[in-house]
């Protein structure tokens, strides 16, 4: 089966900087095989995500979507891509426009992709909000009326309203309290199962990774040091860095 997303020996460096942020990255995202990109700050996780989102272009190597090379100038392909690949961010405060009502926020992908107008988007927005466990009247309210956890649900509703196949998520629960975190992890698991969503998640939180992703790739300073099934990578780490990462996770006292 053709992978939905594929990075092929991709590198990225900022203009004028010799040292690449990420180098020689090859990974594939297959339907139903959620992938975690694990690593610490400065490892290049967010850059990888930007490459996969088509927001940055690989300096060398390619990004493929459904087997074709992703070309930002090909507007027909980009429309299909945007519809299939959506994104959730870490900070639920910065990711919602404070001056738009929730209804407007959630319907943005529908309107921008030409699937619906503001007037016809209503039912889909209501469905999306219900799916993430928010009341229907949430659409009329502004983001600042909601808590951090609720705001992350709004962001998830926006990212799933156009029925994407892949959800890219940048540390989607790390800004949330522990009790809220569990609920959002549960919600993401539900979306995976009920809507066949494949997650690509950047995270430093190994327990969240283990809860959500079938596959894991470990990044250390711009390189993938280990990748494979999550159970294998985190359960029996082969690379010393992965081992150190796993051992560093603080555990509850027995």
């Amino acid at each position: 089966m053709t992978p939905v997303l594929e990075l092929n020996e991709a590198s990225f460096s900022y203009r004028g900087h010799a040292a690449p942020v990420v180098e020689d990255i090859s990974l594939t995202v297959e339907t139903g095989q959620s992938l975690a990109l694990v690593g610490e700050s400065g490892a290049g996780k967010t850059t990888l995500l930007r490459l996969l989102l088509g927001l940055a272009r690989a300096t060398t190597g390619t990004v493929r979507f459904d087997g074709e090379e992703l070309k930002p100038r090909n507007s027909e392909q980009m429309r299909r891509f945007r519809r299939s690949v959506q994104c959730v961010f870490q900070d639920p405060y910065s990711s919602l426009d404070p001056r738009q009502r929730v209804g407007g926020i959630v319907s943005e992908p529908l309107r921008s992709l030409g699937l619906d107008s503001r007037s016809t988007a209503g039912p889909k927005v209501a469905d999306a909000l219900e799916r993430v466990g928010l009341p229907a009247d949430a659409a009329e309210r502004y983001p600042h009326e909601f808590s951090g956890g609720q705001r992350q649900r709004i962001a998830i509703a926006r990212a799933t309203v156009c029925d994407p196949r892949v959800l890219l998520a940048d540390e989607p629960v790390s800004a949330l309290d522990v009790t809220t975190r569990v609920k959002v992890v549960d919600l993401l698991n539900e979306l995976k199962q009920e809507r066949g969503l494949t997650l690509v998640m950047v995270s430093h939180d190994l327990s969240v990774v283990a809860s959500l992703c079938e596959r894991t790739a470990v990044l250390e300073s711009g390189h993938i040091v280990e990748q494979g099934g999550t159970a294998q990578v985190l359960g029996a780490p082969a690379h010393p860095y992965t081992r150190r990462l796993v051992e560093s996770v603080p555990r509850l006292p027995a």
Binding site: E40, V178, S248, V249, P250, L252
Partner: protein, 266 residues
């Protein structure tokens, strides 16, 4: 005498909302206490109140005695005598806790010269020693660096060195490792544990993470919505939480952690 004795501490906003509600806690010299709670629980406000650092407009009632000095209602002059000497604090975000325009060495030198009256070469040696004791490599280089020139983990070590500089009797650590990477967090917790153990220093450790708190303290106080919910031995609380909220908290933490266990047994 207790190093910290908080009784019926109540913190209100200017418009009368209660943020901390009749909180009481006591710490003996050298004792370690974990303050657990989620955002909005009032845990950070409590630590600020203990040092008389609450933002303007908030009113405090009740009592908070730090090494015998009543903090509630104390004058700024009395407070300056207490801060640094009796208690020092390390914040969550080391970048905002350090002055971005001052070299690291000078920031550490300041409390050393003010409190211990050190000068010249003696002061310089004390700065390097302070950086060495928090296990910073190349202390000479770090002393000359600006905060943005060193990593987040190094900045937090500098902040810790500053807090320890005057050998306070109580160290308050407010989510000191939350902004750090996992591996850095682990090292930082070890360091903190070793340093306070060596000095018989009391520690008030504030965190949202039970597992992190358990690395440093034995006794914890769980807070929710400004109130103390439950207090006791951290192992006990994790094993058999009594209150509804503590149960939910432990349950959530367990659920996340269990994902790791299931996989690794295969």
């Amino acid at each position: 005498m207790n190093i910290l004795d908080v009784r019926d501490l109540t913190i209100r906003t200017a418009d009368g909302r209660i943020l901390v509600d009749r909180l009481s806690l006591a710490m003996a010299p050298g004792e370690r206490l974990g303050l657990i709670g989620e955002s909005g629980s009032g845990k950070s406000l409590t630590t600020l109140a203990v040092l008389g650092l609450l933002p303007d407009g908030m009113t405090v009632t009740g009592s908070a005695e730090l090494a015998g000095t009543q903090i509630v209602g104390a004058s700024e002059k009395q407070l300056t005598g207490v801060r640094g000497q009796d208690a020092a604090i390390v914040f969550q975000e080391p970048l905002t806790a350090l002055d971005p325009l001052m070299r690291v060495g000078r920031q550490i030198a300041e409390p050393l010269s003010r409190r211990r009256g050190l000068k010249g070469a003696e002061l310089k040696r004390a700065v390097v020693a302070a950086l060495e004791q928090v296990r910073l490599p190349e202390p000479d280089r770090i002393a000359r660096a600006f905060p943005h020139e060193i990593s987040g983990g190094q900045r937090q070590r500098v902040a810790l060195a500053m807090a320890l500089a005057c050998e306070p009797k109580l160290l308050i650590a407010d989510e000191p490792t939350t902004a750090l990477d996992v591996t850095v967090q682990s090292d930082m917790l070890d360091l903190l544990d070793t340093l306070v153990r060596e000095r018989d220093m009391a520690v008030l450790f504030v965190s949202h993470d039970l597992a992190v708190v358990a690395r440093v303290t034995e006794r914890v106080l769980v807070m929710k919505d400004g109130r103390a919910v439950e207090e006791g031995d951290v192992r006990e609380i994790v094993r058999t939480p009594r209150e509804e909220y503590t149960k939910a908290l432990v349950e959530s933490a367990r659920q996340l952690e269990s994902a790791l266990d299931l996989r690794s047994t295969r």
